[in-house]
Symmetry: C3
Subunit: 674 residues, 3 copies
């Protein structure tokens, strides 16, 4: 395991640099990421380049035995470039220009900006192609941050039309594929199609889905340009991109195909405030939600089925969420361990020192504004030492037997037609994911097109768009002994976001052994409950979405118990197909129901699992070790089935603490309050 830090030498006097770099080396840091917003310093005027400062910084880093990770500085085109070519700016749907003055103001489809990108990336890449201290490159920075994947400018309009022409032979084919007869929405040519602007009523869902795909593809294409230039300059470099948490507009699988290494930026107390609908608990405000962060770790690990990096690890308080409470004692150490347990090969902290200027002054660094060590510094040093002890360099990747099927098309389709304000696909995924994680089970987060054979169990909530081909692959998977747990809103649409002329789940109906008779959505004040057919005195909470089923071959598992027309009707069914098992759950399950669905499938697959873990505690086995991480302020005792050999900590978990033992202790492990 390795650690690193993000550094902005351009923000500090040169005479300070060596002190900084020396302190980094002392802290055990191995990588220093730099230059992602440096265009204005590297090229203060057109064609007047100033690389010396970066040369010197890289040299210093090398002198102190560390490696630099450099970035293409395209996330912040300087003002002179914007003034020369204002057409590179993004536009809102209503034509409002997204102006210079922050970052990410360029359009991915601007031909002009692609030329400028090529110019600057080539220049940077060539400058460092032979430099022995540069380990690799990050492309741009956090594509999509600040809702910038989707732009609505004229360049995008033109690019969208080209993209559609490539996909559809004729405009008639497109009209049919989308169903444009509806409300007289036919186009008579590709030229007639615009990006979706302001309209009196909601947009056509097929048009929206295609625009979402197009916009994401634009980023993929733009990123590929960077990758090609960098690889051309030095094929030895790793090329990565730092995804920013989870963004709902960018297909991370597609971007990752062009990368050697996937990395992401992890801000647990930020994300828990602005990317989850439930109000953050005090403990979550101190350390984040381990399943939210964990699912992102797993997503980025699964993109290439390879260990990932945390390119930016929250170092303390941050500026951008609504509130910035101080993280709990040791939280920064906890996050580094948690990332490792999920498959991280490196954790780099953002940033070295609190910045004196600009938008991020209220963002902590490992060092305070005066250069003295901050809380994150002590945590980072401790975590680095502990992790080094576990493995000095890359360690074996996580080996998961359970996969969560995640599809950006489903995300985009459901976002266009949520039919309940509370319906958030990510959170539905977490409801199923969390059930496995609360049993200590590692989970890959894969695209449905990925190979399925290695998994014992697939979790597939709201697998909304299902092609015949996917249906066949899933059926074959089950017939050969696989297990699938489907969640609600599965099998609803074709690939163009149209309803199928068969009942839900469409091409999966035989596999599921049932069809959906009706669906409905509910506000939170109308919680639904279901009861198992065997023990009808038990009740399990469910929410938001309720489908009642019409079982054919499938066996009834749960019926609705809550008042209303659903009462007594089938909510969950189970089917046996070939050597495998399929469960279809028509509701958004609460944690206990999700556990009742997942646990038997784990047992059936003979996968080791723990006792149900407390909300804030998560465990993970990797590379011959087991991590137990505590995201809560409670103290716990760890009770393992076998004697544990502790590498970090011991069987007492303090608040926000971590323990690491040798071997895989998951089976039967329990966590007890002290």
């Amino acid at each position: 395991m390795q650690t690193g830090v993000c550094y902005f030498p351009e923000h500090w006097p040169r005479e300070r640099w060596e002190t900084d770099v020396e302190q980094m080396a002392e802290a055990g840091l191995e990588y220093v990421r730099m230059a992602e917003f440096s265009w204005g310093v590297l090229e203060p005027e057109r064609d007047e380049f100033a690389f010396e400062w970066l040369d010197e910084a890289v040299s210093l880093i090398g002198e102190y035995g560390m490696q630099a990770v450099l970035c293409t500085p395209t996330a912040t085109p300087p003002k002179w470039l914007v003034d020369e070519h204002p057409e590179i700016l993004q536009e809102d749907p209503d034509g409002t220009v997204r102006e210079h003055g922050s970052r990410r103001h360029y359009c991915f489809n601007s031909e002009r900006y692609r030329e400028e990108t090529e110019r600057i990336v080539r220049r940077v890449a060539e400058r460092y192609a032979e430099n022995p201290h540069v380990a690799g490159f990050q492309t741009d920075n956090e594509y999509g941050c600040h809702f910038t994947v989707r732009c609505y400018c004229d360049d995008c309009a033109a690019a969208f039309r080209s993209w559609l022409k490539e996909k559809y032979d004729t405009i008639a084919e497109l009209n049919t594929a989308w169903g444009n007869r509806f409300w007289s929405q036919q186009y008579d040519s590709f030229e007639a199609i615009d990006p979706p602007g302001p309209t009196p009523a909601e947009h056509h869902p097929s048009r929206l889905l295609e625009y979402a795909r197009f916009a994401s593809d634009s980023v993929v294409e733009y990123n590929r340009l960077h990758v090609e230039l960098l690889t051309e300059a030095n094929p030895e470099w790793f090329v990565t991109h730092n995804f920013m948490g989870r963004f709902p507009t960018l297909d991370a699988y597609a971007v990752s195909e062009d990368l050697d290494l996937v990395s992401w930026d992890s801000y647990p107390t930020g994300f828990v405030q602005d990317r989850q609908h439930d109000e953050a608990t005090p403990d979550q405000l101190r350390a984040g939600n381990p399943d939210q962060i964990g699912m992102d770790h797993d997503l980025y690990r699964s993109t290439l089925d390879r260990p990932f990096w945390v390119m930016e690890q929250q170092p303390g308080d941050v500026n951008w969420p609504p509130h910035c409470p101080q993280p709990g004692e040791g939280a920064m150490r906890l996050w580094a361990h948690h990332a490792t347990a999920h498959g991280a090969d490196a954790v780099c902290y953002f940033r070295w020192r609190r910045c004196l200027e600009g938008q991020e002054q209220y963002h902590a660094g490992l060092r305070k504004q005066d250069g003295s060590p901050d809380r994150g510094y002590h945590d980072a040093v401790r975590a680095g030492t502990e992790l080094q002890a576990i493995g000095d360099g890359p360690i074996e990747n996580v080996d998961a037997s359970v996969a969560l099927l995640f599809d950006y098309d489903a995300l985009w389709a459901l976002s266009a037609q949520p039919h309940a304000p509370e319906f958030d696909y990510w959170e539905l995924l977490e409801a199923f994911y969390g059930a496995a994680r609360s049993r200590g089970v590692q989970v890959d987060v894969i695209h449905p097109s990925f190979a399925l054979d290695d998994y014992e169990l697939l979790l597939a909530p709201a697998l909304h768009l299902v092609t015949d081909d996917l249906a066949k692959r899933l059926t074959a998977y089950v017939e050969e002994g696989g297990r699938i747990l489907f969640g609600p809103r599965t099998g609803v649409k074709d690939e163009y976001n149209k309803l199928r002329p068969t009942l839900q789940p469409g091409p999966l109906s035989d596999l599921v052994g049932a069809t959906v008779d009706q669906h409905g959505s509910f506000p939170s004040r109308m919680e639904r409950t279901v009861t198992p057919v065997a023990e009808d005195d038990e009740q399990y909470a469910a929410r938001t979405w309720a489908e009642w089923l019409d079982p054919d071959d499938a066996e009834l598992r749960f019926t609705y118990q809550s008042e209303g027309i659903e009462f007594g009707r089938p909510a969950v069914v189970e089917n046996t197909v070939g050597d495998g098992t399929v469960v279809y759950c028509g509701v958004w399950p609460g944690p206990d129901l999700a556990d009742e669905l997942v646990r038997p499938l784990l047992a059936d697959a003979s996968l080791p699992y723990s006792e149900q873990l407390p909300q804030g505690v998560r465990i993970g086995a990797r590379a011959g070790h087991t991590w137990i991480t505590n995201f809560s302020s409670e103290r716990y005792r760890i009770v393992a089935r076998t004697d544990a050999s502790w590498v970090v900590g011991d069987d007492t978990l303090e608040a926000f603490d971590v323990a690491v033992a040798e071997g895989n202790l998951v089976d039967g492990l329990s966590i007890e309050p002290v």
Copy 2:
């Protein structure tokens, strides 16, 4: 009573049509509405018309003994037309264009669009002028849906100026009428007047009221164009328009003057979520609010004092409200009966089959997406059979002795100056309307200019703008023995939305026998209470608005009991004028206070009324029958004064159930929980 359905043959393969039409006929449906969004199919390119498909669909409908209702397809100008003439599009106040990509994107004042309208309507009308299977025409579709009555484009600016020139002789007259001295808002010519755009502070209320009138008039004029063309083609056709629930921007009385038949689109579980401020209860999410829907039925019945149609009846779950729970068991049947009890002559369901394409995929039909019967189908067949049994064809209209005075001018004036976020004129109307309905009394919802003589009682909450002429008519009505219950904010303004230089209620002061001393508004956390002068241990809740009165001739009925400066002051007074009675209520009454005000007036008028009905149960007498409808999930027993002869159901009301008895059972009827 008759039933029908809305059908989109253009969405389905021709080979399917006959099956569909045959099934419609089997289901007892008599009318099939078609083609309201079909412009793109009827005229795929300019002047290339394709009517054959519609010809064939009409023929099939005729063959199976049904009648077609066709529509002018103007609600969805196709893309080629928008591209040719982008000036037909609407604009927001800030100039943002409302683009193609949904529906209702045209401006009512576009001369170009009127020409295009004339062209297509004439073509459609001529095509079917001689067709024996076309019963009538619907103009356009749901004028005003998606907030499209008010547009702010250049065409509207010009039309607004013309409209004003027609109304005012000189600009000086307008300046005086509006009071434009205030804040130096004088105009020096009609050309200087724009539609109300974005301004630093709020707009002049007189200008806003005139713009609201103008915008509504634009729709009236635009609709008249359709009516004239259709009537010219075939004077035998009925011409209707389908109003969409209640819209706050379109004067339904004015539009209706040009129609033969008024129809509207009823979506009980949708409206209860997005057109009422109170959170919908679970029962309302299952079946809607009977008074909300009932008041709309009554409004549309009263426009022409003639039975109306429900042109679109919700058939199951719908896509557009926040949540889409399944309606309660039998709700679709319940709504058909409820509509009939309120004066419907026909109920047409929207739509035949769940659509596979476009924006309404999550909107149920009578048949599911695979063509199999859906819940609404069974309900519709049952309701059809039951209603057919009551009367095979048109039955006698509702005969109401109570009228609610409803004035769009008041709505527009109060919307511009609510002076409490909770002040919603429609909901205030419902507070008074509901009191009559909770006693089983039928209510006409009439414009104040309508004939008043046939009514025993007028309810007039917030009759905000009162001309001298109206004051005279109301006074004459009372002198001749009539009864009026005024609600708060009555008699405040002149016809230009200016205050009068006399105390409220201005020209009604003599009639009321009191003036308003002070008014105030209150947030919901400051509920007001009043107490009757006779029994001051009783307290009645009131809300939002409180006027205290200065009685002259009038007698004191209720005083304020809640803490604050109102305490002890007059809240409700009663006056005797000629042979009649006037009650003025200065507060927004809760249900019990409203009942305390309405019941004695019903008794005084010797009108039959029931015991106070539970919130979810409503009764209605029409054409020699009494309907008892249950919009709740409770079971009830119906206790009538006389032996009932049941035509539908019996004296036990299940959840969401209906019973129909012969005769008028209203007097003394009570509904008791089982």
Copy 3:
């Protein structure tokens, strides 16, 4: 003490004027303000002036022994002027024009509008230069109302660039001062700098602060133009401006420097609804929050260290807040006394009579719409008589020994980076201000650059930007025996809104004897508590912001007691420097903690203070009298240490009542519930 009224003769028939003016004189009013929105009447067409009406009104006022206060009518440029020169209109950041149709639609930086201003002001000033009945002039009206200080039009862009050029020698200097290396935000020329428009992410805080300063300066400059023209016409006139409550965008200190007299418009029940985040209590809806209004009185008194005027006093219900409950019995009298206790020399009511036209019809006057006396009239007459009895003309100003340091730069910087949605600088100021006021202590609200020597105690919460010079002045103040209570977020930034490279409180660290180790912000559901080191069984509530401190010389006073990483760490410290004392409080204190901090400092300074007053009662000593004002509906008994001689009322305070005694009774006074 004097009283006056605002009058719009142009809204009423001439034959009414004399009646009105006669009634004003009878009511004891001495000043009549007129003409602030009269441009359209004064100049109905370009260069066609109509002054006769105003001449006549001024004459009448003089005839009845009163004085006119006239206004420059620039707040409402008429439509003909806007049509001639649409470039005078303001623009939103996205370019949306703020159109004619309300008021304040002109841009302060429009050269054209400055010329027009000069033309009309000169004309008005010359007209009345010799008129013996005009006492003085008000410039424009409520600068900044409706968020109009900041405009984003091309004129503003140009003016901003000039303003920057004047401030910075070179663009390089600006880039360095702001820290534009961050995110490549360097400019290559002043011409490259725009007003802050729509951007993907948040703006650079230094750019925002400079734009805020520039926009405020634009108003200062624009106002100076009026002052110069008026003074030139008649140097005897007083020139004032009526500030509207508190606006977060306009530096009232800077505007006031050019004025002879500062006045403001006080709407207690309006401001409590729309300028405070806490929900208004029922009592506050009836009379406002005395500390909110009181702090504004004190701010405007402190601008010139001179008595101020209330140019518009709320006369009853008003139209613009969400709700308009009737003020409590006597509230209008209460407000007049309260203003006097805070240093008002005159109270003018807005308006004489409820207006029949335009946007303010729902705004009460002293007379109702029919001309009869309204509630405010009776209150005003009574207050006038009572206040006249205390002093017939100007009385001695308030003499405060405590000052609250208030800095618009801090306000603007904190608004750009609140880092907690609840963080409102004004409300934090009130937390400290309220502690002094709840002890009956008068407080000046001064800019940090003002002379400090006369004060015994300075309250300085969130003194966010601290220059070395200010640090020196504060240190000198303490060394000479002064006392300072600092609040959280003090000493964070340099004058360009950049962090300092030293720990907070930067240049104040020696004075405070401690530095800030960490800070965090919290949602309201995570209230913080602190405990005094001496008595750790006491707990005091705090909120929103929590800094934990690292004391050097300072003594520990309070530590955190609430759960979380702050627990046990220093929250409040105290330091002795020279002859003085400094307390630094790292939290936003609740009322009891604020009292625990302020009271000992008052005692230390031997300042007289009362027992802790109930929330709604405030007292104030001025000019040899003590006012006790009750903003609550409770009854109280006043218990003074010495026998009181009552000039108004007595020792029983009714709801919304006032009592005035001779002498200064503050010391030890207590208010007890009856």
